[in-house]
Amino acid sequence: MEALFLLIPLSIAIIAGATWLFLSMVDKGQFDDLDSPAHQILTDDDRPAGGA
């Protein structure tokens, strides 16, 4: 049970990290547009073998 004294604060730290991550994603506008990114995956720098 003593492990909890470590794990619970740790979980709080992880949550804080996850929250910060999410908030910065919102600030960068990643949730403003949920349509284009699905297309943008096609424009990676990796060039497909056969072209279009």
Partner: protein, 867 residues
Amino acid sequence: MSAFTSASSRPACHHCGLTVEAPGRWTVVIDGQLHETCCAGCQAVSAAIADSGLQDYYRARDLPARPLRPAHVQADQLLYDDPEVQARFVRTDQGICETVLLVEGLRCGACSWLLEQVLGRSQGVIESAANLGTGRIHLRWQASQARLSDLIGTASRFGFSLQPFDATLRETQLRQTSRSRLRRLFVAGIAMMQVMMVAFPAYITADGDIEPALQSLMRWAGLVMTLPVVLYSASPFFAGAWREWQRRSPGMDTPVSLGIAAAFAASVWATLSDSGEVWFDTVTMFVFLLLGARHLEWLARLRATRAIDALSAAAPESVLKVIDGASPERIAAARLRPGDRFLTGTGEAVAVDATLQSGQSRFDLSLLTGESHPISREPGDILPGGAINLGSPVTLIARERQADSALSTIARLAVRAAAARPALLGLTETIARWFTVGLLLLSAAVWLGWHQIDPDRAWAIAIAVLVVSCPCALSLATPTAIAAASSTALRRGMVSTRADALEAMAGATDVILDKTGTLTRGQPLLTGFAAAAELDRASCLGIAAALEESSTHPLARAIRDAAASCDAPFQQACTIHTAPGEGVEGIVAGQRWRLGSARFVLGAAHAPDPADAGVEAGTEAGTEAGVAAGAEAGVAAGAEAGTRARHTAATEVWLAREGQAVARFLLSDAVRPDAALLIEGFRARGLGLHLISGDREPTVHAVAAGLGIERWRAAMSPADKLDYVHALQAQGRKVLAIGDGINDAPLLAAADVSIAVGRASTLAKTSAAIVMLGERLVDVLTLHQLAHRTRRIILQNLAWALAYNAAAIPAAALGLIAPWVAALGMSVSSLLVAGNALRLIAGDGTPPAPEVLLAPAADAVGAHQAT
């Protein structure tokens, strides 16, 4: 390489996919391969893309690029560096400019990537983000290093045209609000889940089973994670409660805030003193679910706002003004004055309400009217601002300034209606206020009461009472329902100019219809024709059209239209002389012709007998064959074949040659094809129908009989109409008046709710509560249905709120409900009513519900669809 090939043997343009007419003339080398393009423009764009190392675009795109239209590529971009012009759509903060521009040419994900890359690499640009969904790009740049016109120019070199979006500031605000709501929701959500984890052991163990140190740890963990929820996520509730306190009108936020604050404070105290209960899980769940309900409401409002914004953004920012003796000059649309002439090219939107001067084209009015079919317009016709020219370029004469144009007026009216508080909302808020006051008093009483009985439970029960009550159906769901319904209506081309218009419409018991311009088109059509033997219909029409060539009278126009539609031989009239109110005289092919009333054309005091004048009758209301037969052999039986109604309602116009009557035209104001549909629909819904008109009795009778309206009145003066409405209202009837908004303004103003049909151009003067921008009468039925659904949903929500509160509050006061159950119940109730209200936008974009179309006879449906 390119996925887009043309059907012909000639290659397709590598860039836009059009057929290359001159192979080998414009070529471009990309990745060592030679590609054909169709024109210098595509060649330049393609080369620019390759030179920038952005050729991935060609691999990833799934649509060819928009063909370039050099004619209107960015003639106005320099205008955008003008600080005065920029002030309207660019926000500048410490040398950094920010704007949102509408993008033309954004077709697929690859396009938006390309545009972002192109602009993002420009010097001075800090951020460029294109949004495919809304067709907009968000730009931030250093004012000292880049000019907006350069950026627009750069984009245009890649085939995109960027235009300022007037509502930029609002868009920025909307996005900020959306983001901050999302952040609050997320923080509350993740905290809720984690707090639940540390709260959970306390629910499944008996007191004392957990060692005190561990219990204390879990309480502290809950406290730490609840803190951001209370301080950050819940701050809108506290801010709202503070505003309510300042206005001394407690609303929904007051009990919510008190509940959160009390539960949190008690829990903090319990944690610090290591005694009593903690409710951190209750607080976080309550905040999260309530924010969820508010988010739904926000989405409905966002939708409504965007619908209005789409209207505001529809008119172009600049126009090509025609200047006599000089080449056209591009000026800001706001500087256009009535009487100015301007050009509107293919694909461009008309800037202001205008009269078509020259050119004939088709226009897309879908944004204004919801009508998807393009409409043909010819010189003399009036076009509303925002109409998109689909055909050839045209010259127009401005009728209004931009700010007074229909489009601006619609947007303004819609904004006003959205901002106004409907009476219903006022009522529910009053109820909510008293509800809240009562609730606060009850909570205090419950706390005092339980303090006597069981002091340990007093806090828990008082908080449960505070939290369990749900005034949401009153304060949250009703505005959501109204916003959702209004945006749905707006997308169908119906603007409610008063906030309570829909509510009033749902309560209507009687419908008063005006005839001219409402049930009928308000414009006469040629419905009958009779001529002397040697002349056929087309040549008579040709002569009549020549005489009426420059007249603006509706009858003249009807004759010209008829002549045009039957390919009448073109005739030239000279020495035209007009006798006002009587007719017109002129020389055609060396003979003197007169067109007008019987008395005028014959110079006689009474109407001639058709037989005496050698005129044989036929009517077009019969068949074309009947007319032809009638013209050949005596008086045609076809005259009777036409409906008597139309016959009696018609205006006679005679054509005479050298004082001899040779032909007679019957012109009447035809009933709109979907009028029958409207009448049937209202009848099926049990509304009383009344037709009142200022027109002559035979005409009104004919229309009323044709449509099966039993209660009709003819020759009504405006005062008579008012008396009629007041008489109905005195009987306790709720009157819905439908008119064209001009002739019957007093009628519309006197009725409980009124609709003006198809008069976008006279919108500003209307007194109607609802303005229909389209010509389809059946939309009135759709709106009526929407009004009923809105009312039904509001009533459902109120009924639910009543039942829920009636059951939950006493139970909480008696100590039967734990705070977390109370929080859950209240939040779920909120979500339920907000979600219910959102159903009003679910049907958006679909055709009218089947019941609208099923009620009337099939032929009427056919007639409607044929238009």
